[in-house]
Amino acid sequence: MKMQVINNALCVGGVRIIEVSRSSVFLIGDTEQIVCSSIVDTPADCSAFSSNQETAEENNDL
């Protein structure tokens, strides 16, 4: 396969990001290859149960 790319000027006013997380990439520039892999495991049944009042707040954090 042949591919021809012509890059002209690229102008962005501003960028505002809360979080670049879990093997993500934010790139202002060029690259040839990006491989991002991430495995995350927090199933729903990992929620905490307790008679303490504070766990209700923790579940929200999960």
Binding site: M3, V20, S24, L27, S50, N52
Partner: protein, 136 residues
């Protein structure tokens, strides 16, 4: 010819957990981070150094990489070109993420996170991949 990256200003609050914040060019970036946030049962029973990544298949299994089956002949014309960005505001760069103003050739990022939480006597079962290989 490489393109220029022009950034007027950058404001980054935190770069942590094997993340990279780079200004300029480089060849290759390969950050790896593994995390095991643990809290199972009573908090007082937790001791540092008890858990090993090898006990959980999630941290040792091989991640499949898509194979490039077709050769690509790519020509890039960057003449009279640049990437121009105004103000960049980022709150956090976390877990082997990359923020770069500049060019590179290859990036390979990897993050594996497990976040076990069983608290109290009424915990509701286990996750599919959770248990240590040697059962408790």
């Amino acid at each position: 010819m490489k393109r220029w990256s022009l950034v007027r200003g950058m404001k980054v609050n935190s770069v942590s957990l094997a993340s990279i914040f780079q200004i300029g060019d480089n060849d290759r970036i390969e950050p790896v981070s593994m995390e095991l946030a643990f809290r199972e049962g009573d908090q007082s029973s937790f001791k540092f150094g008890e858990e090993n990544f090898e006990d959980y298949p999630l941290f040792t299994r091989e991640i499949p990489v898509p194979q490039n089956t077709e050769p690509v002949l790519m020509t890039i014309d960057n003449s009279h070109s640049r990437i121009q960005v105004g103000q960049v505001d980022i709150t956090a760069v976390l877990f082997s993420s990359v923020m770069q103003a500049g060019s590179n050739l290859k990036m390979k990022t990897e993050a594996r996170i497990k976040h076990i939480r069983h608290v109290g006597s009424n915990s509701a079962g286990q996750s599919l991949d959770s248990g240590p290989v040697s059962s408790e």
